[in-house]
């Protein structure tokens, strides 16, 4: 028996291979999160500086009308985006689950928007929604002279165009999640419910959908963090306009930090966004990791 204490290549190689990734993650994710948090407590303007002012940046942030507008836009966008995506995704998944022909092809078609970058989605929808070249123009050219669809230039309605584009992009993905959930349900449950006398509608509303709670939860989490972090879609679609009518926290953060020389307040808004995401994610991760299997 010769067990040497010398640690050979077998011992060091995995650590060696992983260390660059770990270093990068620690510095560029956690390091910068901490740096941002530190900056949010300073008087930084264009460049970072370290004169600490406590929560003053946060106080200024929540006194700022543009920030409050951005938060309320996020609320409208987030609620509608998540709700409509869940409904559309669920309906599509249930329809696709009826043993239809060419299901694979249809699934791919619905899933494809997810493969596009939000920038592309935003640009395409910008053209479609543009009153002078898009849908409105098309309807008028068909002879419907009075047709008006100018939400994108209407400050009251512009936020809803973002909902439309966002739903178009993400609902196929939600459908795929729900479809996977539906496929996981034992078909004999449906048969049993039929024998019990339940109509197809009540099979879904009383048994299948309630038993997909974990799936709803996962979909909600994914949509929620897309909504909170949404930036590129809005930049491409409306650029935050008209005026500030489609401002959201991510745009606010970008503009204040890098365009208006308000690095401290930008950092404060970034930390508020991080806290919002964490407020949603932490309970989720907690429940996912804590509860064992819950069939």
């Amino acid at each position: 028996m010769s067990v040497t204490n010398r640690k050979g290549l077998d011992y060091w190689l995995p650590k060696l291979v992983l260390s660059p990734t770990i270093a990068i993650t620690v510095i560029f994710i956690y390091g910068f999160v901490i740096w941002t948090a530190v900056l949010s407590f300073t008087r930084s303007r264009i460049l970072p500086q370290y004169e600490f002012v406590g929560f003053e940046q946060y106080v200024r942030l929540f006194a700022n009308d543009r920030w409050l507008g951005a938060m309320s836009n996020l609320l409208i966008f987030g609620v509608l985006f998540i709700a409509i995506c869940l409904i559309v995704g669920l309906v599509l998944a249930i329809l696709l689950d009826q043993n239809i022909r060419a299901e694979g092809a249809l699934r791919t078609i619905y899933l494809y928007p997810m493969a596009l970058s939000f920038i592309v989605t935003g640009t395409v929808w910008k053209w479609l929604l543009n009153p002078t070249v898009g849908i409105e123009r098309f309807m008028i050219s068909l002879g419907w002279e009075s047709f008006v669809f100018d939400w994108i230039v209407n400050p009251q309605m512009a936020i809803y165009t973002i909902v439309i584009a966002g739903v178009w992009q993400a609902s196929g993905f939600v459908m795929a999640i729900f479809l996977a959930g539906l496929r996981g349900i034992d078909t004999s449950i449906i048969k049993a419910a039929q024998l019990d006398g339940a109509s197809l509608f009540s099979v879904y509303t009383r048994i299948i959908i309630p038993s997909m709670r974990p799936v709803f939860f996962s979909a909600f989490i994914m949509l929620a963090h897309i909504a909170i972090k949404s930036f590129d879609l809005i930049i491409a679609l409306t650029g935050g306009g008209p005026g500030n009518s489609t401002d959201v926290p991510a745009i606010f953060m970008y503009q204040f930090s890098f365009q208006r020389g308000q690095l401290g307040m930008g950092a404060a808004s970034a930390i508020v966004m991080l806290m919002t995401v964490l407020a949603i994610l932490v309970p989720y991760l907690y429940s996912e990791l804590r509860t064992p299997k819950n069939g």
């Binding site: 004999s188 048969k191 049993a192 019990d196 339940a198 009383r206 038993s211």
Partner: protein, 369 residues
């Protein structure tokens, strides 16, 4: 309660013909088991009776009503599935009550019915648990409870015990039999396990390739199999099939077997088969392992018993008996002997072939002679 008539039922999925003219008459209160290898169409037939699959042609009658085109929920049938198919989001109480709620039964009656069923199946203490918190055996009971609660005319069971471990399966088997004796309702039960079929059934329908090969009581199916398939499928270890030549002896017939270059003539019981057309031809002798035993004086004196010396190839002790594999007519042949009488592999051993229950098959059609 009603009798179930399955009349000339055919079922095809596209080009594949699954059920080929099934006819079964199941009287009220009978426990019928459909048994066969996987892919024989037994589950499809059960689904057709339940209405979950539409029959391609033929009729399904319940009592005097034609149910062929009736929706599953209006057939007054309850089914227990292999996977139990409990509703995962509902607790046990809700699972049992669901069918009653859908049928708009008043709340108080539902409550009474659920507690009756729960008491019957001894699941009262777990009414507020979710299916995920139950063991396999408990889920099985809940699934049965759900079927019992509706008091249907017929119960259908689709391999209900196959997901349980061996010990629990035997327990539930006994319980299922007790339950049937108490309820006396018609039950159609699908299984691939021939022991389950033998122990539970009033009558067994042995199926293969979408055709009912034989429909009879367990003893009939065991002793008088209609063809080689039924003979081989029922019974474990399965029947020995030895191809041998028929010859005429004194006042009857005998078949010739060869063991270790020694030839023996086994007399044929005329009650078992009339081999008059087969003199000089080859037939397949079907003889169960328990009819080939070690030498016992009281058996040796019986008619149609012959002593054959065989060479032991393999010995398989099962505890109660030991199975001895020998080579006869250059085919494997299993014999069942008392553990203390068994020799070692390679040794010679005397065996008594009791032909009073032997059966014979045509080598071409594989049908019983």
């Amino acid at each position: 309660m009603a009798e179930l008539k399955i009349e000339n039922v055919n079922k095809s999925f596209g080009e594949t013909h699954i059920l080929k003219g099934i006819n079964l008459d199941i009287p009220d209160g009978e426990f019928v088991i459909l048994v066969g290898p996987s892919g024989c169409g037994k589950s499809t037939l059960l689904n057709c009776v339940a209405g979950l699959e539409e029959v391609t042609s033929g009729a399904i009658r319940l009592g005097d009503k034609d149910m062929t085109r009736v929706a599953p929920k209006d057939r007054d049938i309850a089914m227990v599935f292999q996977s139990y198919a409990l509703y995962p989001n509902m607790n046990v109480y809700k699972n049992i009550a669901f069918g009653l709620e859908i049928r708009k039964m008043p709340k108080a009656e539902i409550q009474a019915e659920v507690s009756r069923v729960a008491k019957l199946l001894q699941i009262e203490h777990m009414l507020d648990r979710k299916p995920s918190q139950l063991s396999g055996g408990q889920r099985q009971r809940v699934a049965m409870g759900r079927a019992l609660a509706r008091r249907p005319q017929i119960y259908l069971f689709d391999e209900p015990l196959s997901n349980l471990d061996a010990k629990l399966r035997v327990e539930m088997r006994t319980e299922m039999k007790k339950l049937h004796q108490r309820l006396a309702t018609t039950i159609v039960y699908v299984t691939h396990d021939q022991i389950e079929a033998m122990t539970l059934a009033d009558r067994i329908a042995v199926m293969k390739d979408g055709i009912v090969q034989q429909f009879g009581t367990p003893q009939e199916v065991y002793d008088d199999p209609a063809n080689i398939f039924v003979a081989g499928f029922m019974g474990s270890p399965s029947m020995n099939f030895l191809e041998c030549e028929v010859s005429r002896v004194d006042d009857g017939f005998a078949v010739e077997v060869v063991s270790e270059a020694q030839s023996y003539l086994l007399p044929v019981d005329p009650n078992q088969a009339d081999l008059s057309g087969y003199e000089g031809k080859r037939v397949i002798l079907g003889i169960r392992p328990e009819q080939i035993t070690h030498v016992m004086p009281h058996v040796a004196e019986q008619p149609f018993v012959t002593k054959v010396t065989v060479k032991i190839e393999v010995v398989e002790p099962t505890g109660a008996d030991t199975l001895v594999l020998a080579r006869i007519n250059d085919q494997e042949c299993e014999c069942r002997v008392h553990p203390t009488e068994s020799g070692q592999p390679g040794e010679m051993m005397d065996m008594l072939f009791n032909m009073s229950k032997a059966v014979f098959f045509d080598p071409k059609t594989e049908d019983r002679l």
